[in-house]
Structures are given as structure tokens and as C-alpha cells.
Symmetry: C2
Subunit: 406 residues, 2 copies
């Protein structure tokens, strides 16, 4: 990892620069819309098919149009590839790194998840050796995938102390540079590039739909992504001069992506919210944000396994100290699974459980929905949703959704 | 259904006309690419990870670039909506239909699959009553979905004789017009519109990738869909003046979509192939095509449940009599499931088993692969793949992919 002191400032222009550096290596993933999910999000809780009636309480009645950034279609199946490529581009530019034999010494990280594969692929593309420390109990397909990208997989015990000890040994032996999964400016700036694409794509889709409306009162699907306003029930198009997103909902684990997206929105007026599970205290960022004190350790087995990590220090500075994230919302395990089911059944996308958390907030979190009702009024809100990744085994899905016995 | 004698001629210009008629009602779905699947398709059988070695036989070694037409992202989750909307637009234009009270009398069909939901939605959009005859043993979610689109669901026994008897009763009672699922010119022309979009999108993606290559030798993802040539191993871009598809692989059940796609390619030089399962004789179109005699009855329980139907008469005229389909390929159940798994795990798309059949042909059928090797040579082929639909229950998926016991 490049010495953080050589990293660019944590600003929107730096995210734009990061985009230039990685654009030959990552996909501009599609931003898609879905009329059924818009309609559900715009129907009060308790009025939807299959809902239990909520007695004695009036549910919020927001108008919500959703724009899904499909990072499940990204290379290696997750946004993590953006940060990994950006980290290596910055490393290559660090004064003295190349001359000092940095390329031969390679890079190292510990991860059993998407960051492992991301760094492995980015390193291979750059002909740099990558050492990935993984717990020996990691799922076999993940080990195989990481090896498949040409990385040297080194096994460790499963506690963070054991993993870090093995990383230190690798560094001593090889001189490899550590590339952490989220707690570094270069990673944050790389992940933030998805926020730029989402903003631009949503603007294009909104403009195309508005143009179609004014032309013939029939909706013509937009060129990039699509909307089907014909059957979107009772969702008035927003009248304004500069159409674009009102908000983005992004999942928050270590906070690298959330804080990068927040940087990408700085000065645009788009509000960025973090989304977490609350099961077993997985809502560490929310609790920290509300108490003013970063929560440094979390132990949770939430189904959203990508979000079991506490927020890192660098992301925290952006999220909380600079207040570039407008707030946090959390959801239950049942709400995450319900959103996951809708993404599969109605949106036809394969995503991992973590990626369903923002949609769960839009559909089920009454605090968020009240905010949209209050502030969006009759026009409603255009809300970007980050579908962060799609790496889930079919066996795990099978277990999650197998028919109930009896 | 409009009287077939009032239907337009079965030609490419009629498909273009159909597109104009339905364009406010259906999505222009995305066409996407995937480097991993390109690479697998361009690796000989026996040389892939996990392949069994094929002894004593040299596997074909084609170069294949795939362009996936994502009709799983279409409204109601399948291409069938195109034919249904087109059929209704034609019906509305039939002389005397409106004046004779046709609108009030409505439409009727028998289907327990995607056509049921397609006709229900198209009819509701047009404020025309729809009667859908479904076997009383149909899956509850399918019945609920069809009712959810506002259709009048009428139950019948499950044999085709029983179903048709109930349809006749509905017609006698209501005067509703029959809209069959595939065996009608208006349906064929409607489904063919996806072929036009696929041709155009593929051309754009190929041109964008070629432009990026010539500019800086780095691949910039195309604006619509994406390619990642940087890591596509050893796939030389084709050199030619007019880039576009060489072939389209489409699944074949009743043949409405396959024959429509064939019409959309007439005169373009793009070869269209039908893809079928062979389990229990599901390859009826292939057998018919080779013997010169349409097979009129099939009884199969192939996992590709959308393809259990024999080819209809109208499609047959296009497919066989006019030879607008260049040939058929069939695959095993195991090959279909392997392709389905790859679409989920590597392409992150939810599709129904029928939609995986064309990819199974591209990956596993040695006859097809030898053809591409022979005719595509070093340049290889650009092959369109129709992902026909994504309507599969998570419970069914869970059963298909649940971890094996023991």
C-alpha cells in the first residue's frame, strides 16, 4: 500500500482522478430500475400483499424511485476491485517503490472475502506477486477462486491476532506491501468511483424518461438502464430543472465504500446514508455515529456476512468527523432476507445478502421512509441503491431458500 | 387473437413494424458480456478446471465471444410480453373488432407459464378482460401472479384436452378471443423484436470495444453492456469492416421466439440456431428438422420446463420450410444445469433453466463448437445468446442446488 502521506486529498476531485486511473481495468457497471420494486417502496407498510397489518399506527407513505448500481456485475463480482486497482496504481506512482524493488516484493493482505480476490486479480494484471492470508477454515471455493487469480494463498488461524501474525511473517520474509481491505485513503477513493457512475447514470435515466414523457405521454425505456413508468402506479415524475438523485443508500461494513461514495457526492446535494444489519450489534457505525464514538470491535453472525466488520479509522473521519454521511439506518435479519428474495424474484439479480441491506432500508425502515415522505412530498425521492456484490454460493442460497419441511 | 389472414407478412420489415407498435410497452433489455464465460467457451472441453479428460479425441478449439440478451430483465421476467402486447395491438387494429364489442369480450388463453402473466399484463394495460385457463394443480405463486395482473383465472384439468375444453367454454360464454402462446404470426413477430435489439446492441458493444482498442490498447468498457478485453485471454478481436454478430443461439419450445428471431435476421447474414434439451425426446424440433417432418407431440420432464412443447405450425414454416433457422443443437440435463450454475455464479443473473440451454450449447456441444472453429477460424465468432426468462421460484432453485447430503 502506498504510504498514506502520499495519497491524494480525500475530496471529490480525487475520486474523479481515481476514476481516470482505474478506468481501463474495471467495468462501468449498469444502473437499472425496476417498476415492481418502485411500486412496493411507494406503498405503505401494512398495505402490501402478504404484509401483516400494523395496528394503531399510520405507516409512512413516501414516493420512492430506485436506481440500482449493479456492482454484482463488476469484475470478481463486487465493488472491491475498484479499490484494489486504485491502490496498486497509487503504489506504482509512489516515489522509490519501483526502483526499490517493490514490484518484485509484491503485496499482501488478509481476507477471506471479496478483497482477497480483488487484490489477487489486480496484482496479477500488474504482474505483481500477491500473498493472501486466509483462515485455513475458509470455504474451499473461495480459496480456489483466490488461487485461480494466481495469488499465493497462505493459511492462518481464524482470529484476527493469528491472521495478523501470519501477515507480519509474510512481510518479514518477502518485503511485500500491505494492502488493507478498507482502512486506507487509496481504497476509499477507488471505491468512491462507483458513486460517480451512479450519479451520472441516474441522471441519464431520469432525463430520458422525462423526455419520453413530454413527447408522447408514453414511456420509452431509457437507453441505459430502464424505467417503465406506464405501469408504475401513481408515481408522479419529479418536476425540477436539474434532475438527479436525492439520496444514495449504501451498505456499511468497514466503511471504505460508504465513505468513498460520500466523497463522490460532496457538494452535489445528494445525501448519502449508511445501511447496516442490527443483529448482534452489527450496527456499529450507526451506534458510533449517534454516540460520537467509533465502535472498534463487533462480534456478530448476521446473515449479511460482508458487514460483520467495524468501521475503520479513515472511513470514520469522512463519515462522522466531516459529516459527509447524513445518517444510518439498520434493519433486521428478516427484513434483509425479504429484500434478498425480492431482488432474486422480481429483479432477477444474484446478489450476496450484504447487498440486500440498502433495499431493506428503503422498503422496511420507517425512519427512512418517514424522512422521504416528509422531505420528498408529492414529488418523492430518486434514491440510488448500491448492490455491492454477488458472491454467494448456490449451496448457501439453497440452504437459505430451501423449501421448509412439512 | 387477430385473424391470421389480417396479420402482416412474415418478414424482417414486419418485425421492425412490430417493434414500433410495442415500444412504449416493453423494455429494451440490456445486452451484456462476460469475460469469464467468453474464456470458458474459448477453452477446449477437457482443458477446463474440473473437466474430465476426454480420451482419444481432440476437442474443438473455437474462439467465441458471447452477447447475452437479458430477457430475464424484461417485464414479467420473460420475452413473452413482447408477443402478448403485439397480439393485442394487432387485435385492436383488426377491422370490426372494436365496433363488434371485441374490447368488452376480452381475450382468453391457456397457460400455466410466462404467457399467462404476459397476456394478463398486456390485457390489463389495454383495459381488456383476460381469462386465463390454468390446470388446478398449477403452482400457487403462478396462480397468484396471474391473478395479481388482474386476470380472471379459470381452472381446468391438466391434460391438453381438458384445458382446451375449458377454453371453448369460456369462448362460448364470453365471446373472448383466443391468444395462443406461440402458434400465430402476431406472436412470432412480437417475439422477433428481441432479435433486432440484440443485433444492434452487439454491434454497438463490438464497435465501442474496437474503438477503445485502437485508441490506447486498453479496453474501456462499452457504454451499453460491457466487455473486458484486457483479461480475456487470447481472444483476438475480429478484423472486419462491418462488425456484428455471426450467430444467435435461442432456446426452442413452441418455436415462436426462435422463428421470430430468425425473421429478424433475414438477409443480415447472421445464422440463427435452435437449442433444445434432448432428455426424453425434448429435441423434437431438431428431430423434425433432420427428418423433414414436424414432430407433433412430446412428453418429457426435462428440467428446462419452458421447452417441453412441440414446435407449432406457424413457427415450423419459418424454421424449416423457409430454412431461416440454420440448424439445431441439443444438450443433456447435466449440461443445462452446469450452464445454469455458471450463469448464477459467474454472470450473477437469475434465469430459469430453459434460459440456460443456449449457453450449454456454446460451452458443451462439440458439433456447434467444431462449426465455430471451422468457420470462425482465428477471428472466432460473435455469438448472441438469448436469456429467455428468469421466472423460477427460490424454492425450486433451493432444491436444484441444495448441498448434497453426506
Amino acid at each position: 500500500m502506498a504510504d498514506p502521506s502520499t495519497s491524494p486529498s480525500l475530496t471529490r476531485p480525487s475520486v474523479l482522478e481515481a476514476r481516470e486511473l482505474i478506468k481501463g481495468f474495471v467495468h462501468h457497471t449498469p444502473t437499472l430500475t425496476n417498476a415492481t420494486l418502485d411500486s412496493l417502496a411507494s406503498t405503505p407498510l401494512g398495505n402490501r400483499d402478504g404484509d401483516e397489518k400494523v395496528e394503531g399506527r399510520k405507516s409512512a407513505s413516501p414516493k420512492i424511485r430506485l436506481y440500482f448500481k449493479c456492482e454484482n456485475l463488476q469484475r470478481i463480482g463486487a465493488f472491491k476491485i475498484r479499490g484494489a486497482f486504485h491502490a496498486l496504481e497509487r503504489l506504482k506512482r509512489e516515489p522509490g517503490w519501483e526502483e526499490g524493488g517493490g514490484r518484485e516484493r509484491g503485496v499482501v493482505t488478509h481476507s477471506s472475502g471479496n478483497h482477497a480476490q480483488a487484490l489477487a486479480l489486480a496484482a496479477r494484471t500488474n504482474s505483481i506477486p500477491a500473498h493472501i492470508v486466509m483462515p485455513s477454515i475458509s470455504a474451499k471455493p473461495k480459496i480456489a477462486a483466490t488461487k485461480g487469480y494466481g495469488a499465493n494463498v497462505v493459511f492462518s488461524g481464524s482470529t484476527s491476532v493469528e491472521r495478523e501474525a501470519v501477515v507480519m511473517k509474510v512481510i518479514e520474509k518477502t518485503g511485500a506491501r500491505l494492502v488493507p481491505p478498507y482502512d486506507h485513503p487509496d481504497i476509499v477513493l477507488g471505491q468512491g468511483t462507483l458513486g460517480l457512475e451512479l450519479q451520472e447514470d441516474a441522471r441519464d435515466i431520469i432525463a430520458a424518461a422525462a423526455g419520453a414523457d413530454s413527447k408522447n405521454h408514453e414511456a420509452i425505456p431509457a437507453e441505459r438502464g430502464f424505467r417503465a413508468p406506464i405501469t408504475t402506479p401513481n408515481l408522479p415524475e419529479k418536476k425540477r430543472t436539474s434532475p438527479g438523485l436525492d439520496a444514495i443508500l449504501a451498505p456499511c461494513g468497514g466503511g471504505g465504500m460508504l465513505s468513498g461514495v460520500a466523497l463522490s457526492c460532496e457538494g452535489t446535494g445528494i445525501r448519502v446514508f449508511g445501511c447496516e444489519p442490527w443483529f448482534e450489534g452489527a450496527d456499529d457505525a450507526k451506534r458510533g455515529y449517534e454516540s460520537g464514538q467509533r465502535v472498534e470491535a463487533v462480534s456478530t453472525l448476521t446473515v449479511a456476512d460482508g458487514l460483520r466488520t467495524p468501521v475503520g479509522k479513515v472511513p470514520w473521519g469522512i463519515i462522522y468527523e466531516r459529516r459527509l454521511v447524513a445518517g444510518f439506518y439498520s434493519v433486521s435479519e428478516e427484513e434483509i432476507i425479504a429484500a434478498l428474495r425480492l431482488i432474486y424474484e422480481r429483479f432477477k439479480m444474484v446478489v450476496e445478502p450484504s447487498a440486500a441491506v440498502p433495499l431493506a432500508v428503503a422498503l422496511f425502515n420507517e425512519d427512512f421512509r418517514s424522512l422521504v415522505e416528509r422531505e420528498g412530498g408529492e414529488d418523492g425521492w430518486d434514491v440510488g441503491i448500491v448492490l455491492s456484490g454477488g458472491n454467494v454460493s448456490l449451496e448457501a442460497l439453497g440452504t437459505l431458500f430451501a423449501p421448509k419441511e412439512g
